[in-house]
Amino acid sequence: MALPTRSRRTPRPSAPLPIVILASAGAAFFIIPLLGLLLRTPWTSAWQQLGSPEVLTALRLSLLASLSATAIALILGVPLAWSFARLTFPGRSVLRALTVLPMVLPPVVGGVALLLAFGRRGLLGGWLATTLGVHLPFTTAGAIMAETFVAMPFLVITVEAGLRSMDTRFEDAARTLGASRWTVLWRVTLPLVRPSLIAGAVLCWARALGEFGATITFAGNFPGRTQTMPLAVYLALESNPDAAIVLSLVLLAVSLAVLIGLRDRWLGAS
């Protein structure tokens, strides 16, 4: 509406028929499974299922673990993103590739790697247990760690992209006006990349919430301690399919809300 003359001059492209057909098939491929889930949902007992102690326990643990994972990812991931965006040091690209590797690694492999590093017989796990008395496998801390491992890369690359695309002249101006590096970071850089920080944190949280493979491999499965929602869905599918469907629906709703919430930030930026 803002530019009526322009939109009139460039007519809408009409799509060739094969494209329309293939695109519809592609869209259907995503929509049909969701429809399947919605149509099989036992709506009448849905609230009852949601209120059951097992579901509530899994829900509570999932929220705790995913929010903790996001907090850790912010504390460790933002400095990492800043280092990748602002510093040049030998091996940077290799290090960067290693830190985003969990995005493409099968999560189960991540879980095995975590076990070999932080398990009782692992690289650091033995030392952690004997000197600090810290046990990670089979604990909620282990579940949080597994989620952080898989989800933090989403925050790192989002924040890094934000830092790279921001106008660094604001930082330069602040520096010439006598602000310390720390002040510049807190008062100029971070406020400027706030949209990326929020988008990265939300993506990271959503990924942590859906984490399955690394969690069940590294932290195991025990209700109230390490059985997060996706694990509960997997096991409920075998004994109580209705509960599994309702839990899946909750995860679906959360994911959808995240995507819709981020839509403006993402599509608006491009």
């Binding site: 195991g220 025990f222 390490t226 599918l237 075998e238 004994s239």
Partner: protein, 257 residues
């Protein structure tokens, strides 16, 4: 110790890809028997034995191919109920077989083809000196069991109840192989699995026998599925399992019904 970790890792990696290097059966190519591809859903605990049986069956009946889908019996039953296409289902317990019978998905009544006993699995050398089910209740011991929804978890609960032992597991694993790998990796001190799993794991773990009075015997029923596209081949496979297959099963630690 490094060798041990490597051995444990090796087990974890190869659990899903059991070797198919059993002795070759006599080849009788002249037989004009069944042909085509057969899909068999089988409990994870059958992985090694059925892979061997499948290879032997293919040699006995040239032109056939047996494909396996190994998973927890309850997962498989759920998959079949959701419409997964296959010819034969071999379960590690009766309740999951009953689910399919009630859903009208079986072609005939199932036959028990093997039994399996439970055993306590511990790390190599039994470092925590576990000798009985009662030892599993010791404090400071990390014990993992199968989840109650999975047959091995159901059986483990039964045997612990018989022994009057209360165990708080560190984890309720989704299948029996996960219990085994947690012990093989040294993350858990002990678990309750099938004898056949301890046998298949080789040197990385050791088994501690559970006395027969306290043990729970798992029954393995096999059935042809109603939606089987190749019933002749399915029947040939089931009868092979019930005849020559028994020797192979015994070699992997199963007992005959």
């Amino acid at each position: 110790m490094r060798a041990r970790v490597a051995a444990a890792l090796f087990i974890v990696v190869t659990l899903g890809v059991a070797s198919a290097c059993g002795p070759t059966g006599p080849v009788s190519a002249s037989q004009s028997g069944p042909s085509g591809t057969l899909t068999v859903f089988a409990a994870s605990s059958l992985n090694a034995a059925f892979t061997t049986i499948g290879a032997d069956f293919e040699k006995r009946h040239p032109g056939t191919m047996v494909r396996f889908s190994f998973a927890g019996s309850s997962s498989l039953a759920a998959q079949i109920q959701q419409g997964a296409l296959g010819d034969v289902f071999a379960s590690a317990d009766q309740p999951n077989m009953q689910k399919l019978i009630q859903a009208g998905l079986t072609a005939e009544s199932p036959i028990v083809f093997a039994r399996n006993d439970l055993e306590i699995v511990v790390g190599k050398g039994n470092p925590k000196h576990i000798t009985s089910l009662a030892d599993l209740a010791r404090s400071g011991l990390v014990v993992v069991l199968c989840a109650p929804a999975v047959p091995c978890g159901h059986y483990a609960a039964q045997t612990l109840q018989k022994a009057g032992v209360r165990v708080t597991p560190a984890s309720q694993e989704a299948d029996v192989k996960s219990v085994l790998s947690k012990v093989a990796l040294g993350e858990a001190d002990a678990g309750i699995v099938y004898i056949t799993d301890v046998k298949a794991a080789g040197d990385a773990v050791e088994g501690v026998a559970i006395p027969a009075v306290l043990n729970v015997v798992a029954e393995y029923p096999i059935v042809i599925l109603k939606d089987s596209q190749n019933r002749a081949l399915a029947r040939a496979f089931v009868s092979y399992v019930l005849s020559e297959g028994r020797q192979t099963l015994a070699r992997y630690g199963f007992t005959n019904p």
